[in-house]
Symmetry: C2
Subunit: 119 residues, 2 copies
């Protein structure tokens, strides 16, 4: 794993690092993004499949978040020109790699819980 200080240009040009960090934060934050990505980690899904996977999400929010994730290169929306039209959502390769980030967040979170308990 490359550390931030390994990047030679971090001091010379910090803006790109701030942007990259914000990108990561943006695809994770909000009430529904992680549940949606989690649902799609188990495979290609249709709109109503995702809705069934995530209790209490409304179609409005699912639609909004899927558009946002698509715009940010996390989700591919595939339209099959059958009758009736079939639409499927799947994760991009980039999105699948997010599991590394989630693992590190999980590890820190579990450690932190222990630390806060005793402290």
């Amino acid at each position: 794993m490359k550390k931030i200080m390994d990047f030679a240009d971090v001091k010379a040009c910090p803006e790109q690092f701030v942007l990259a960090l914000n990108d990561t934060l943006n695809v994770l934050t909000g009430k529904w993004k992680l549940p949606i990505l989690g649902s799609l980690l188990f495979g290609i899904k249709r709109f109503t499949d995702i809705q069934k996977n995530i209790p209490k999400i409304t179609p409005r929010m699912l639609s909004k978040e899927l558009k946002d994730l698509e715009l940010n290169g996390m989700v591919k929306r595939v339209v099959y020109d059958s009758t009736p039209v079939l639409i499927e959502y799947e994760l991009t390769d980039s999105a699948k790699k997010l599991s590394d980030v989630i693992d590190s967040m999980l590890n820190w979170g579990l450690d932190h819980r222990k630390a806060v308990m005793v402290g």
Copy 2:
């Protein structure tokens, strides 16, 4: 780095993992938490020092976020009983370990930017 599927009980008891993940997200999200943690990574600081470090943050927001970070075990607030009273903020050990998470977020973010560019 331990991966989520390495935890034997992840399927039996997923709630603690959801909580841990949310903890991590909660100490990172919002407009000011990361800048504040970043400022304190360079050492112990006083209220107005942090304010000088972070352009445009108001005392209201800095006060609110510092309280929140303290409550979540990220920041220690130390009061020196001199006259006038001196107050310093420093990161907890747990907060310092966040740099691992930030590194992984940064790496993913930089990769993702490249992937989205070409895609």
